[in-house]
């Protein structure tokens, strides 16, 4: 895959076709408008396998027909795709494929969008001479709770099993038996449960693999496709919603190599039933569920905020850039309050964020493909940004990238890593400053194995979880120090790629949802971050709280403290998609749109501005959120002059220097990285009413300190005897995604405490038994899960579960816990 040859020309069916040396004949032909039918060929799956034989063509000078899917083009090659010999071969293959195919198109979900149907029509013999009995299987069977398999329809193209082997590498889906008895299945008929398995339903060229969530729900002629962006995690994959009667009935990938490589995780694919869940907030209401008119709700909200005035605060989470931008304007301009944040607790100061945002040390998602070394730092992409997991596996498998993993806890990528380092919970800062030293002076150090792997790499992409920054100011500084030690600025294809907790964290930061930065990360009067907002509410220093797309009681550390804070607040105005424990405490609740309904932009962690487009109708009495915010501001006596989504974006683009001049058409269907938006157009033709601005954040690139000699740099003290250091993570499946989507319900994680074999022995614990995990006072119930790769002295809990949420134990600093058996009374 990696590098490509030079431009050449070949002759296909008598016409000259330009191509790139080494690309496959099928692809070259396609660009020359010559269609060669394929079944097994799918470049996204890696090397061609040449199994189905559908794509046979004639190449002059080669006696036998060749499979065009696996034949690299050469200059001057002369190819025939419609000679009698080729036609004969292709119709023979179609006839063979149909020998065992049931031809039950009328009752098949694939009907109308089925490659087998199309190719049979276009290249088949029209009738089959096969009169003997076909093979039979029990059908349809439950391959997984989400995917049905009809083995009689399977044409054994290998796509699904290759996905499982070579893309997601879960290796659960396999071919069993041999010859024409071969069938697709799993070990011992277990369910195929893996976070990306839904992709096989996109890949299957026949009706053998279909989604239970879509079976019998629509036919191709009564649906339409609507392109948007999935905002269920920071990956922001491009999706296409299948809409029937203004409702989402299916989600499929909308291939964007810059973002998702054409894959989707099951979260994004099946997480659409919740759009119409009972728990959905369908209109404005007051405390206690009293439904009110929009006018009344807005008036009440305005009154609450007015009452708070400068003693109001806002926390923004699941929001578009425009919504974030408007919220901070309400705070800063209408209320004169600097207290606004978009992070679960705290984070780096503006200066540091500016340095982190410098284009020369920022990596694109695509850079992962050709990276020499990938460093995964303080996060497990599978849980925090799933699609990156596939991207990293691809880089290793196909382009020989090396992987280094440095985390508190085991990750799903460890198996393919060249070097793995485990630091104690809360020890990232110390690890990083060690690594920086290790890189600068090649002597040994704790981080040396990782340093060895990174040293003199052609290019390095550092994928880092923003939660390490919560360890304190030192963490981000240490990270910058590592970046400069690696000379990321100098090497192209190198850079940092952040994995934030919130989907649109980057966009919200750049839109000014920070306590110390207004839009464009520009300096401003410093207010309180989320953690201090909580404290100030509790102490009464702050009066009114505006929550936009956040649920502190589930998602933020230290649940108890948040309960106190919310109880102490005079007024709470909450914008929320669903009813939550938090909305139950709010005085006014406004409904939020989902990414199937919203119109707005979001910013990918790599700086790509993407457009979320309204695809489905809004249930109930939901209104566009930008409009609600504009009206709220107006009611507060401050006119934002925003009358439409485009004007909202224009206002944002005019305020954020490095968005200057970017228009909706620049963003288009694929998005655009502001770092790559043509500078000379910045402030030019794109947006006449702004004077030229620098295309990058105010460059305060003082060289990073040689050493991050801050307090955090000290290694975390080992936990007291008998207790374990607690490491927590947000599980891919924790939260509304599994609670409000019936098809995904079976994936809802029960709280379990993962610990090492030796710790389990020491504490006399065995897998599956129920224990209480406690930290002075607060405790959660969990089941024991013994895991070989969990480091001794550490245990793991999940954040955001319905029961036993680990956030109940956290307090924003290092935590160690006791584990006790539950003695049945």
């Amino acid at each position: 895959m990696g590098s490509r040859g030079q431009e050449i020309t070949l002759i296909i069916d008598g016409r000259e076709v330009g191509a790139t040396e080494g690309e496959m004949l099928h692809d070259a032909a396609k660009r020359g408008d010559v269609e060669i039918p394929v079944f097994c060929y799918e470049p996204k799956l890696g090397e061609p396998v040449g199994a189905c034989r559908m794509c046979l063509v004639e190449i002059e000078g080669i006696p036998k027909l060749q499979t065009s899917c696996s034949t690299p083009v050469r200059d001057g090659m002369v190819v025939h795709t419609r000679t009698d010999q080729v036609k004969h071969a292709q119709s023979a293959v179609v006839e063979f494929l149909l020998v065992n195919h049931p031809l039950d198109c009328p009752v098949c979900d694939k009907g109308g969008e089925c490659p087998l149907q199309d190719i049979s029509m276009g290249w088949g013999p029209g009738k089959s001479r096969f009169t003997d009995p076909k093979r039979h299987f029990q059908k349809p069977l439950e391959l997984s709770p989400l995917v049905a398999i009809d083995r009689e329809r399977c044409i054994l193209c290998y796509r699904c099993v290759r996905f499982s082997q070579e893309v997601s590498e879960d290796e659960q889906l396999q071919l069993l038996d041999r010859g024409d008895r071969t069938f697709v299945g799993t070990f011992d008929d277990r369910p195929y449960v893996a976070p990306f398995h839904g992709n096989i339903t996109d890949l299957c060229p026949v009706g053998a693999l279909t989604n239970y969530t879509y079976r019998f729900r629509a036919r191709p002629w009564d649906i339409e496709q609507a392109g948007s962006v999935c905002t269920l995690c920071p990956s922001q994959c491009n999706v296409s919603f299948t809409i029937r009667d203004e409702e989402v009935v299916r989600v499929v990938a909308r291939d964007n190599a810059e973002v998702d490589d054409g894959w989707l995780c099951d979260r994004g694919r099946y997480g659409f039933e919740m759009f119409v869940a009972e728990e959905r907030v369908r209109g404005p209401r007051l405390r206690g569920g009293v439904e009110v008119s929009w006018e009344e709700a807005i008036a009440k909200a305005a009154a609450a905020l007015e009452a708070g005035g400068a003693q109001s605060a806002a926390i923004v989470g699941d929001a578009s850039n425009e919504e974030g931008y408007l919220v901070q304007r309400i705070m800063r301009e209408a209320l004169g309050s600097p207290n606004i944040d978009s992070r679960p607790s705290s984070g780096p100061a503006r200066e540091t964020l500016v340095k982190l945002a410098q284009p020369e040390i920022s990596a694109r998602v695509r850079d992962i493909d050709d990276a020499g070394v990938i460093l995964v730092l303080g996060t497990d992409p599978l849980h925090s940004s799933p699609i990156l997991d596939l991207r990293i596996r691809k880089a290793i498998r196909r382009n020989g990238a090396k992987l280094a993993v440095a985390t508190e806890a085991p990750t799903t990528l460890d198996g393919g890593a060249t070097a793995v380092a485990r630091y104690a919970p809360g020890g990232a800062t110390h690890f990083l400053s060690d690594l920086a030293n290790g890189l600068r002076n090649p002597d040994q150090g704790e981080a040396s194995e990782i340093a060895e792997t990174l040293r003199d790499a052609e290019s390095v992409v550092v994928i880092w979880g923003d939660r390490i920054a919560r360890e304190g100011a030192g963490a981000a500084t240490a990270l910058l120090d590592v970046a400069s030690a690696l000379e990321l600025g100098g090497k192209d294809g190198s850079g940092l790629l952040e994995v934030p907790d919130f989907t649109n964290a980057r966009g919200l930061r750049e839109a000014g949802c920070l306590p110390d930065a207004s839009p464009g990360l520009t300096a401003t009067a410093t207010g309180k971050d989320t953690e201090s907002i909580r404290a100030a509410l509790e102490s009464g220093e702050l009066k009114t709280l505006l929550l936009f797309g956040v649920d502190p009681l589930r998602d933020f550390p230290d649940t108890e403290a948040w309960k106190k804070a919310l109880a102490a607040a005079d007024h709470i105005v909450a914008f929320s998609t669903f009813e939550t424990a938090t909305t139950a405490m709010a005085d006014v609740v406004f409904p939020l749109e989902t990414h199937a309904e919203k119109d707005g932009t979001v910013s990918h962690p790599d700086g790509r501005l993407q457009r979320v487009r309204p695809s489905a109708s809004r249930p109930g009495d939901i209104r566009p959120n930008w409009g609600v915010l504009a009206e709220l501001s107006l009611t507060l006596g401050h006119d934002t002059n925003i009358s439409s989504q485009p004007s909202a974006f224009a206002a944002l683009a005019n305020t954020v220097p490095f968005y200057a001049g970017i228009t909706d058409s620049d963003i288009g269907g694929r998005g655009i990285r502001w770092q790559e938006a043509v500078p000379e157009r910045a402030g030019g033709a794109g947006s006449p009413d702004t004077e030229p601005k620098a295309p990058t954040p105010p460059a305060e690139t003082a060289p990073a300190p040689r050493r991050a000699a801050s307090a955090e740099a000290a290694p975390p003290a080992p936990p007291a005897a008998g207790s374990l250091a607690l490491s927590t993570y947000r599980d891919l499946w924790a939260g509304p995604i599994t609670e409000l989507n019936p098809p995904l319900r079976f994936l809802a994680p029960q709280q379990r405490v993962e610990l090492s074999v030796s710790d389990a022995q020491r504490l006399g614990l065995s897998s599956g038994e129920e224990v209480s995990v406690s930290r002075n006072g607060s405790s959660v119930l969990a089941r024991v899960a013994i895991k070989e790769r969990v480091p001794e002295g550490t245990c793991l809990l999940i954040e955001g579960t319905a029961e036993g949420n680990a956030n109940g134990l956290l307090n924003g600093s290092r935590v160690s816990v006791q584990i006790e058996k539950i003695v049945a009374a």
Binding site: E142, Q174, F187
Partner: protein
């Protein structure tokens, strides 16, 4: 509008709504990923055998067939439990090993009798009575679970056709009547048809001239 009522609206008179849209499906059993050793209590001898094999090959996956042979030798066939144990040692999914096992005729993913008799029914043996020999063995065994009698493709011993592989050793040429004898000898634990063992057979052309 909840999904199923939406569904009814569209397809009032047609197909039933899929239950997973309403309450979701629940798998009957957990999925099977790469098992950890402490989960499978692998017999030490099996574990050592497979680890020894892995140390000899440039790539650990190469040992899948030998590892499955080891499992089959230990349990009589490739039991799900045995496959999980081998998978845990090899650090692959059980599905991977089952897929491999199911590809090969000599690896059994279903229970089989302890004594294995494979009778060649391919061209040369067929010409010389392979089918009749197979029938004779089937008759001699009846439904005794201890024996596993199958017809088999060419075993590479057409020179002693019709022939059979009995507990992995070749015998032939066999008269149909000798099937009975062989089975009795197996039951009694005696040496099987000593004079018909392939090993005893001279070159047809005799010693070097």
């Amino acid at each position: 509008m909840s999904p199923e009522s939406g569904f009814e609206a569209h397809n009032a008179q047609s197909l039933p709504v899929d239950p997973s849209l309403v309450e979701g499906r629940v798998p009957d059993r957990p999925p099977e990923q790469v098992p950890e050793l402490h989960e499978v209590d692998c017999p030490p001898e099996l574990r050592e055998r497979i680890e020894a094999l892995m140390s000899r090959y440039p790539d650990r996956r190469s040992v899948s067939i030998p590892a499955l042979w080891a499992v089959q030798r230990l349990y009589g066939w490739c039991t799900p439990q045995g496959i999980r144990q081998a998978a845990a040692v090899m650090r692959v999914t059980p599905a991977y090993l089952e897929s491999v096992a199911s590809f090969y005729d000599l690896l059994h993913t279903e229970p089989v009798g302890t004594h294995k008799v494979a009778v060649c029914t391919n061209i040369s043996c067929w010409m010389r009575g392979g089918d009749e020999l197979l029938d004779a063995f089937r008759a001699a065994v009846g439904d005794e679970a201890d024996f596993f009698v199958t017809g088999f493709e060419c075993l590479g011993a057409c020179d002693i056709s019709p022939m059979a592989s009995i507990d992995e050793r070749y015998f032939g040429p066999l008269e149909a009547a000798e099937a009975q004898t062989a089975i009795e000898q197996l039951r009694a634990g005696d040496a099987v048809l000593p004079e018909k063992a392939l090993e005893k057979r001279p070159l047809p052309g005799g010693p070097d001239a």
